[in-house]
Symmetry: C2
Subunit: 320 residues, 2 copies
């Protein structure tokens, strides 16, 4: 039997149940697959992300549009290829694709003498993302680009070298590639007991998360540097913490207030324990792979890659 | 209520039911969506196509591999891009992708002085294709290409111009873009009464199918000519009829014997009528958009496109 538990609107976790040899119910295997919930049902990402993302589009969308509109000629020959890393499904993915395409067209329109190139937009996310839903929405109206999808983790290579001109990543880079090993080790001071988030003020735990997250970000920029054509751009937006805030302070009261989803997630786990679906000990093996980077950590990864020049880097508090 | 009827292993049709204002059951809307059945359940394409496609891979796969291995340098710069038009889901799509990639690598290995390029393989099919299943299988092992998907109909444009080097289409081009209007018109001699296939010997009906199918094929080659880089190749394999066989003879006794799935499909419709799910009249509105092209019709479309040179064209009877 598979039980689908909605742990926060838009996210899905699967718990598998079975029976032991005496017929008693027991937890057979818990898949730690955590992803945006597909489809268009009540708890789907598609139905629960509009307000959040709409705000993002309003606040930072025009920055991206301006940036693209000032890029000049994007390729010597061939189409302009855009890749959205961590696109998820739902209307938001399409809105960002439309924004990129219209900005590219405006750019060439301004140059007048140069004809507008064709555009190929790659929607990229983990293979478990609901691409079927995304493609259904995609065909509902004609769009000014050739659509394609690239399934895979943005912590690895996804495209041939120098084949992308514009890379975007919207509210995705706080997802880590894995949970730090010490966070799962009961004998370590970084052990995340009784919680699913890095939401305490324990410096050991925060350091362990920080180490993995910084490695992931360096990896992200290294792979994008290889995939991007020289002169291409990366435009990214992710959950972050304030400037000069220590890693262990990333989930500050201010953040919790702005992001009540974190609290709901903890509540859902408590309900699962109360229902006897999981034990408190099992809770300790489950952790959400999210880390809020600081401006300094982002700068560090970009400097280490030695392939990018920072054009704009800011912390905004108005989009949550 | 939605009833999923397995009308032949690997194919799926949806029938929607409801109640009229007096509470009697009635057919609300029949979606004429006909596609390969997704997932990996009993009736899925994935579980029911192995033997059929395995045979295809053995018999014509080596032709394609040889052809690719003799192509020389495929691009001046950048990756080699392969597109599979009508890929469906399941292991078959991956086997053809692997075959193309290994043939490209062998080609460059033979040339010795030229380093092998990176490969990007596009899986392309209708947006209703089960790409989620395909992507799940894709990640099970590391593959020698960057995988991507392009959702859409191969009767239209799917890629930027000159961006593909190798186009393949395996057992897909017998699918038409639509059913001829006269076939749905009760007053026309081409009306397909009591059947779901073009399986009679009625010349009017066959001519109507032939007209749409020839237009579709010309459209397929025109779009591929635009998408392919000069020097690129198309390798296609589809259900066809024998040389010099008239359109109305395409579903000959020999074909029926080799393709018993057609008969099972008719049987399934008869069962739906017997169960009262649909009426005989409703059967007349449903037709399978399949036409078996002749060698002459394929030659005609290629000649009309004026963009391709035929390197090899043959009818084989040994793969069914």
């Amino acid at each position: 039997m598979v039980g689908n538990h909605r742990i926060a609107a838009g996210w899905e976790m699967q718990v598998l149940h079975g029976e032991d040899h005496e017929g008693h119910p027991r937890l057979m295997k818990r898949k730690t697959l955590l992803r945006m919930q597909g489809g268009d049902g009540e708890g789907s990402y598609s139905r629960n992300s509009g307000m959040l993302q709409g705000g993002t589009l309003r606040t930072i969308g025009h920055n991206l549009a301006d940036e693209i509109s000032q890029l000049g000629t994007l390729t010597e020959v061939g189409p302009v290829r855009v890749a959205d890393f961590g696109c998820s499904s739902g209307a938001n993915a399409l809105e960002w694709a439309d924004l990129c395409a219209s900005s590219i067209v405006r750019n060439y329109h301004q140059m007048k003498s140069v004809p507008a190139p064709e555009i190929q937009h790659f929607f990229s996310d983990l293979p478990s993302n609901d691409f079927n839903s995304l493609f259904r929405e995609l065909v509902e109206s004609k769009r000014p680009y050739f659509a394609a999808a690239a399934p895979g983790s943005f912590h690895g290579r996804l495209f041939p070298q120098h084949s992308i001109q514009i890379a975007i990543s919207i509210w995705s880079l706080h997802w880590m590639s894995k949970i730090p090993e010490t966070v799962l080790d009961a004998s370590s001071p970084a052990y995340n007991k009784g919680q699913v988030w890095l939401d305490s003020r324990n410096p050991s735990k925060a350091a362990a998360y920080s180490q993995v997250a910084r490695h992931d970000l360096l990896s992200f920029f290294t792979h994008r540097a290889c995939e991007l054509e020289p002169g291409g751009i990366v435009s990214m937006m992710c959950m972050s913490r304030g400037e000069h805030e220590k890693p262990e302070l990333q989930c500050s009261d201010e953040f919790q207030e702005a992001n009540p989803g974190g609290g709901l997630l903890e509540q859902s786990w408590e309900e699962l324990i109360a229902e006897g679906v999981i034990s408190p000990k099992e809770l300790d093996t489950f952790n959400i792979p999210v880390y809020h980077l600081s401006i300094e950590e982002i700068k560090e990864a970009i400097d280490q890659t030695s392939a990018f020049e920072i054009k704009q880097l800011e912390v905004r508090r108005d989009h949550l």
